[in-house]
């Protein structure tokens, strides 16, 4: 079982992604913004972060830059999940240090395929 952080300010998005990730047998922790995600990430081991771009207090790009600049979360795979599909948005995600970029709304099979690829499947 992998531990996966879902970071999004929209509660319905967090619930939707949680259902899809938990269906693969993984454990999910939710955060509403980058600051809350960093606070909840402290002292634990993580296998994957699913991160929205537009969030209050600390946006997704800044969260990923913070993760990559520290020791503990530097190697954790990050999938950015955004409503924005322009090339410029994806470039910003790669520049921040994201591993993958999905455009909302994410098809269930697409999200689960990426989670399987980056965090495996429970019991696998």
């Amino acid at each position: 079982m992998a531990r996966i952080m879902i970071v999004d300010d929209a509660a319905t998005v967090r619930m939707y992604h949680r259902e899809l990730v938990e269906a693969l047998g993984h454990q999910v922790v939710e955060a509403e913004n980058g600051i809350e995600a960093l606070e909840k990430a402290l002292g634990a081991t993580w296998d994957l972060f699913l991160v929205d771009v537009n969030m209050p207090k600390m946006d997704g790009y800044r969260l990923v830059r913070e993760m990559r600049s520290g020791e503990d979360l530097r190697e954790v795979p990050v999938v950015m999940v955004s409503t924005e599909a322009k090339a410029r948005d994806k470039e910003q995600a790669w520049a921040a240090g994201a591993n993958h970029y999905l455009v909302k709304p994410v098809r269930p099979e697409a999200l689960q395929a990426v989670v399987r690829a980056l965090a495996g499947e429970a019991g696998a």
Binding site: T12, V13, Y16, N54, T83
Partner: protein, 211 residues
């Protein structure tokens, strides 16, 4: 969303720094372009008391990259408020900079009187990203018409992510009056799993709140 009060540490000796510079409004406006971020930040803070500086603050905000100075500029504009500030901030919703956009959204959320007359135009903007940010403003906009605006949006909106964001906000702030719009949009986007899911959640939340 509340405004974050910044700590003074790491900024040198701010009081001594302040005394070295003029405090007249025209001096402060000039200091917004100073190479030292601490000087720019103090100038922004002090200009919060000068409504006539709104344009200078907005001009500086567009080019500012230092997060602490940017926050001071946003705080100053929030303190000044009013129609002119709203008019200057709304175009920044089109910025490529997510941090700037989110800061602007937070300031606009605190200006319901100035934002309300502009919301219809924002919710009909040709750019779906701007419509999403307009819906995000509604998330924390203390205005009684917000649920009605969003229900109206659901009736005409074709972009799935604008619809999804509006449903999410209505799940938080909607009431029984918005249930018909939520049921109708769930039907219209029946082949879109996320919309079907989020509409179900919103309807359940509103109905449970009513029970």
């Amino acid at each position: 969303m509340g405004l974050v009060k910044r700590q003074e540490s790491g900024q040198g000796a701010p009081e001594r720094e302040r005394r070295r510079h003029g405090r007249a409004p025209e001096d402060l406006v000039r200091q917004l372009a100073d190479p030292d971020p601490a000087v720019r930040r103090w100038a922004a803070r002090d200009l919060a008391a000068h409504p006539g500086a709104a344009d200078a603050l907005a001009d500086a905000l567009e080019g500012e990259r230092d997060p602490a100075v940017r926050q001071a500029l946003l705080d100053a504009l929030a303190a000044i408020g009013g129609e002119a500030v709203a008019e200057r901030l709304i175009p920044l919703l089109r910025s490529e900079d997510a941090g700037l956009r989110n800061g602007v959204i937070e300031v606009l959320q605190g200006m319901p009187e100035a934002v309300a007359p502009r919301m219809a135009r924002l919710l009909e903007d040709e750019d779906p990203d701007v419509r999403i940010f307009a819906v995000d403003i509604c998330r924390s906009l203390p205005h009684p018409d917000t649920p009605r605006w969003l229900a109206g949006l659901l009736g005409r909106e074709r972009h799935v992510n604008v619809v999804g964001t509006a449903i999410d906000v209505l799940a938080e702030i909607g009431g029984p009056e918005e249930l018909p719009a939520l049921r109708a949009v769930a039907e219209r986007f029946a082949d879109e799993p996320f919309v079907a899911f989020s509409a179900k959640v919103a309807i359940r939340r509103i109905e449970e709140g009513r029970a």
